[in-house]
């Protein structure tokens, strides 16, 4: 497969996938019974006029085909529409939700990579000993725990010691920069820790298996004979072998994690994109749903593509 050919082909398919996805999503949401109109018109002073007014405002009085065309037209101009629920631009709502979720998810993933690499190295280096079994078993055990359950465990353990809900103490009036950072950081510890603990097992096993491969090689034997310290050997040779799968894994994970963080957001009351999607479904807020799905689909497709291309570029075993 020639390089450029591969890249173009994959990218084209990625775009097509996104388009197919948003068309199917458009239809899918409208299958759900009930609509935002009936929801939002259930206020104590409602009248028929309100329902008609809402219908017109949301464009739900047009045919589905016309709505679809309008949607595509807006999309091409970068307009994701107006949320039914709070009458604000969807892009604005999504941006707020996303900027709440991302830092927490990134910190958690970082923690998982670091802890996973460390434990993977220990497990491979101390092959056949108790250290290896203990490390691997612990990793697998955390890995098997339901995310939200682990989050709840941490809440039980740390109630009173660390904040267990929300993103920051909103009552700090005009805090200094550092106070604010410390405050957000203290609220981020438990959610990121939960994410890190459930993810790190994967990295442990990858690093371990990649290192085991390398450690058996002759040149490692030579290096040891030469008197190089274990850490140098690990760093310079064995770990390098693990880089490719780790990078691929991270790229793939990022695409999905944003959506998957909903469990953590629910437990820790974190106002992120997971909650935004959940609420949008309950409200039948089509523009928000379409916008959120589009965001998530594009993110997954993008990161999958990235992982594909990275793997293609970096894997020495894939030649022509």
């Amino acid at each position: 497969m020639r390089g450029a050919d591969y890249v173009i082909k994959r990218t084209a398919f990625a775009v097509l996938t996104v388009f197919v996805a948003l068309t199917i999503n458009f239809a899918l949401f409208r299958l759900a019974p009930g609509s935002a109109v009936s929801n939002l018109s259930r206020v104590p002073h409602a009248t028929q006029e309100l329902r008609q007014a809402l219908k017109r405002q949301f464009g739900l009085d047009k045919s589905k085909g016309a709505q679809y065309v309008l949607y595509l037209k807006q999309l091409v101009h970068g307009n994701l529409g107006i949320s039914f629920e709070n009458q604000q631009p969807v892009s604005h709502n999504l941006w707020i939700a996303l900027k709440n979720t991302l830092p927490m998810v990134l910190v958690g993933t970082l923690f998982a990579i670091v802890l996973g690499t460390l434990t993977g190295v220990i497990a491979a280096w101390r092959r056949g000993t108790l250290a290896e079994s203990a490390t691997v078993t612990t990793a697998l055990s955390f890995y098997s725990m339901p995310t939200h359950w682990l989050g709840l465990m941490l809440v039980i353990l740390f109630t009173g010691i660390l904040p267990t809900g929300g993103m920051s103490n909103d009552f700090l009036i005009n805090p200094s920069f550092w106070t604010h950072i410390r405050d957000v950081a203290s609220h981020m510890v438990l959610p990121s820790l939960t994410l890190g603990l459930v993810l790190y097992g994967e990295y442990t096993l990858i690093v371990r298996s990649a290192m085991l491969e390398t450690l058996g090689e002759d040149y490692i034997l030579t290096a040891r004979a030469k008197g190089l310290t274990p850490w140098t050997i690990i760093r310079k040779h064995a770990l390098r072998n693990a880089m490719l799968p780790i990078v691929t894994l991270v790229a793939l994970s990022l695409g999905y994690i944003v959506a998957g963080a909903i469990l953590i957001e629910t437990v820790f009351s974190w106002p992120g994109i997971g909650r935004a999607v959940y609420d949008a479904v309950l409200q039948r807020d089509y523009p928000m749903l379409q916008g959120a799905f589009l965001l998530l689909t594009v993110s997954v497709v993008f990161f999958n593509l990235l992982a594909d291309l990275l793997y293609f570029k970096l894997d020495p075993r894939i030649t022509s």
């Binding site: 497969m1 359950w149 999607v277 894939i318």
Partner: protein
């Protein structure tokens, strides 16, 4: 890079496996991780299976106060309806396992068939089927589950279908890769040249070779299916009339169990789920590893709701 415990020296690369059942049993006997995994699963299956006869109290009867403390007669305390936790756990495991198995069955049937057809026929069929697989792969899982629960209502049946629809993609890819390699083997080519029909070849030659991998994949998928069901219940999308392990956690959470100090309503059900998933991971991983330690096809990623095949692994994924 599959999530397995590497125990080199126990399997030979690329050998056609003769007997399916024997393969599983041998692996369980020989590999410690498989033994542990299988034992855990067996214990849970026993407890869940015997629930109607062995459970200490009736499932729907209030036997004490709401969130009653653990005591000698109720070692794990009572839930928010005053029902005995041990009883709940046994019945809950039953429901969770049923959902896990059923969803996996759906996923295996769809994924297995698609993988089989795509891998065997290749060409245009392959391309079309893989494009469809790609679409399913990029659907955001959680939002989709929420939407489906909204459309059809959160009944057990719909949950099973939804989970099955999300899980089949990795099976399809894995099976497809395996089928492609089997197709190239000498005896298959010989059978074709002798004029044997596709069906015959598929059934007689291809499927038996693919079956062990399918079994390994099934076990891993069950783990993910059970995790998915737990997550769905926690988001309030589970079937309210069937108390699965996930629902037990959700009920407790909704009624502020932690703030009431009733940790026994939350810790045991989740721990049991973890045990089941751990058992499946150990067993499935060992089976996969035994087949071919260098095969490394599946990537257990329960965290993100599905098994993910290793992307970019040579031309097969294009």
């Amino acid at each position: 890079m599959s999530v397995v415990l590497n125990e080199p020296g126990l399997a030979v690369e690329g050998e056609p496996v003769r007997s399916r059942g024997g393969f599983v049993w041998r692996t369980v006997r020989r590999r410690p991780s498989a033994t542990v995994g299988a034992t855990l699963l067996l214990l849970v299956l026993l407890g869940a299976g015997l629930a109607p006869w062995v459970a200490p109290y009736p499932l729907h009867q209030q036997v004490g106060p709401v969130f009653g403390h653990p005591s000698w007669s109720h070692p794990l305390g009572l839930d928010d309806g005053g029902i005995d936790m041990v009883t709940l756990l046994m019945w809950g495991a039953r429901i969770s396992l049923v959902v896990g198995f059923a969803a996996t069955l759906v996923s295996m049937l769809i994924g297995g068939s698609i993988g089989l057809l795509a891998g065997y026929f290749g060409g245009r069929t392959d391309v079309v089927l893989m494009r469809i697989t790609d679409y399913f792969l990029v659907i955001p899982d959680v939002p989709l589950m929420i939407v489906v629960a909204a459309i059809w209502g959160p009944s057990l049946f719909h949950i099973v279908i939804v989970i099955g629809i999300l899980l089949w993609t990795s099976t399809a890819r894995v099976i497809r890769a395996q089928v492609k390699s089997v197709r190239e083997r000498v005896y298959v080519k010989r059978a074709r040249s002798l004029g044997a029909g596709h069906t015959r070849i598929l059934v007689r030659h291809v499927v038996p070779q693919v079956a062990p991998l399918l079994i390994a994949n099934t076990v891993l998928t069950i783990a993910v299916a059970i995790f998915d069901e737990t997550a769905l219940s926690f988001l309030g999308l589970g079937d309210p009339s069937r108390t699965s392990l996930g629902k037990i956690i959700e009920n407790a959470f909704q009624r502020a169990a932690i703030s009431s100090g009733a940790w026994w309503a939350i810790v045991p059900p989740g721990a049991l789920v973890a045990v089941i998933i751990l058992g499946c991971s150990l067993l499935g991983g060992a089976l996969e590893d035994a087949l071919n330690p260098r095969l490394r096809v599946a990537h257990l990623s329960a965290r993100t709701f599905r098994l993910r095949p290793l992307v970019g692994r040579s031309a097969e994924s294009i």
